[in-house]
């Protein structure tokens, strides 16, 4: 009995509010598509080298899921989507604080940890040696949608159904392939630069096989008027951030769009 009361008191102590995080700098939270997992970390690190007092938290997920969360009131100041459709929806629903800005063009690759993929075509995936194939969920992940388009274009979507496994977003899809649980993953080119995926091989899917992955970001209504959100949006369009995006396998909209 006495012991139990002691435990209860310990619980009471835990409830006491945590001390507010130190630092008088500015703070924003960004919602970013999962294909940005490494590139965005690098851009934020680069930004913070110049502005060490600003704090930028990044939450990664599939673009569709993040859009739903923002529409339900999630406190994100900026939304980086893997395609331009979702930011446009945000604008259409009156939940944006500005117009979408294209920042990069993404590509999809076939990646495998165990099979040499360098001379593989999409059509070849029908061969049983490729085993399970991981793609992102086409319902709410732009990379999944593009993977589906490429497989349909190759005419093998229907036959492959029983061998497809679906990642919740493109980073999880890459994880399925990286851990070997799926022999092949159709993933973002920006993710294969990760050292954890360096052991595998990949081949680019021809961009003509799928709709362009026009990556766009937009200021949310919650972030409108936030000076740090505006500064960071500006920074992402600058030379240094663009250099990082290219290093992580993105193409730039001007160069690619023509």
């Amino acid at each position: 009995m006495r012991m139990f009361l002691c435990c209860l008191m310990a619980l009471g102590v835990l409830i006491a509010p945590l001390p507010a995080p130190a630092g008088d700098g500015r703070h924003i939270t960004i919602a970013a598509a999962a294909d940005l997992r490494f590139a965005m970390d690098a851009i934020v690190a680069s930004y913070r080298q110049e502005h060490s007092r600003d704090v930028i938290d990044v939450v990664y997920g599939s673009s569709g899921k993040l859009l739903t969360q923002i529409e339900q009131g999630a406190p994100f100041e900026l939304f980086f989507s893997a395609d331009s459709g979702y930011p446009q929806q945000l604008v259409a629903h009156g939940q944006a604080g500005g117009q979408p800005v294209p920042y990069a063009l993404g590509g999809i690759v076939l990646w495998s940890a165990s099979i040499d993929m360098r001379k593989v075509w999409v059509e070849d995936l029908l061969q049983p040696r490729f085993g399970r194939i991981a793609i992102a969920n086409p319902q709410h992940a732009p990379y999944g949608k593009r993977a589906e388009q490429a497989l349909r274009k190759a005419g093998i979507w229907d036959q492959l159904q029983s061998r497809l496994v679906y990642g919740e977003n493109v980073a999880q899809t890459a994880q399925f392939a990286q851990s070997g649980n799926a022999r092949v993953g159709i993933v973002a080119q920006s993710l294969v630069v990760d050292p954890a995926m360096a052991g595998g091989s990949y081949v680019e899917v021809p961009p003509t096989d799928y709709e362009p992955l026009q990556q766009s970001f937009v200021l949310t209504r919650h972030g409108a008027g936030n000076p740090l959100a505006r500064d960071f949006a500006h920074y992402v369009q600058g030379a240094r951030a663009r250099g990082i995006l290219v290093r992580y396998g993105f193409h730039l909209p001007d160069a690619a769009g023509g």
């Binding site: 139990f4 945590l18 938290d57 990664y60 009131g73 406190p75 980073a171």
Partner: protein, 227 residues
């Protein structure tokens, strides 16, 4: 490499705070509910008991989905809260508390219900004959006798809240410092291929869960074997 990064520690602290808040609130609200369930002869007893048990069998995503709709800014609750100047519950710590309370409800109420039931009405009737008021009956007779149930309820409620994933993912939004609890942090680490950090945190949770269950059986007064 440090064992736990500051962000990991932040998730750790947040998880403990969430679990403690939820456990205390559930003990306060769950005790009268369990008491009523144990003693009432109302025909509502069984339906209410079934509702309390629902989170045991519902997929957490179903619970998270309905809570998101029920508490979101476009819902009745959301409009009411906006009217009094409060922000909507999803993606806030308070939202996590509400969701976790529902999610862990059966783990607190059921042990209490069973404990009160096994105390039975006879000690209470005896106390009443000795002119104890209803409150006195409850605090001097029922509560001490139901103590093992309270220990179980506290440990299970706390541990179950620490371990939840689906509901907090749906309603929390994985926001650092506010709703990014341990289980979400582990999910993040795995997705980023940071297996080392995922291992560290998972190990913490494993050790914690085992200790909680062990502590529960140690805290319980041992029953005598029947001859």
């Amino acid at each position: 490499m440090p064992l736990l990064s500051p962000q990991d520690l932040q998730a750790f602290g947040l998880t403990l705070r969430l679990a403690a808040t939820v456990t205390v609130l559930l003990l306060v609200l769950g005790t009268p509910l369990a008491w009523w369930l144990a003693l009432t002869r109302s025909r509502w007893q069984r339906p209410v008991a079934a509702v309390v048990a629902l989170p045991l069998v519902l997929p957490p995503t179903v619970l998270g989905f309905y809570l998101l709709l029920l508490l979101g800014p476009h819902s009745v609750v959301g409009h009411l809260m906006a009217a009094v100047g409060l922000s909507a519950l999803p993606f806030t710590f308070a939202g996590l508390v509400v969701a976790s309370m529902l999610y862990s409800l059966p783990f607190v109420v059921q042990p209490l219900h069973n404990a009160f039931e096994s105390v039975g009405t006879r000690p209470l009737e005896a106390a009443a004959c000795l002119r104890a008021g209803p409150l006195d009956c409850f605090f001097s007779v029922a509560l001490p006798q139901a103590m093992p149930g309270f220990v179980t309820a506290t440990v299970l409620g706390f541990a179950h809240t620490v371990g939840e994933f689906g509901v907090v993912l749906m309603i929390g939004g994985n926001i650092p410092g506010r709703t990014r609890v341990l289980s979400l942090r582990i999910y993040d680490h795995v997705e980023a291929g940071e297996y080392h950090q995922a291992h560290m945190l998972s190990l913490c949770l494993l050790v914690f869960s085992f200790s909680a269950l062990l502590a529960m059986s140690l805290l319980r007064p041992r029953r005598r074997q029947r001859g």
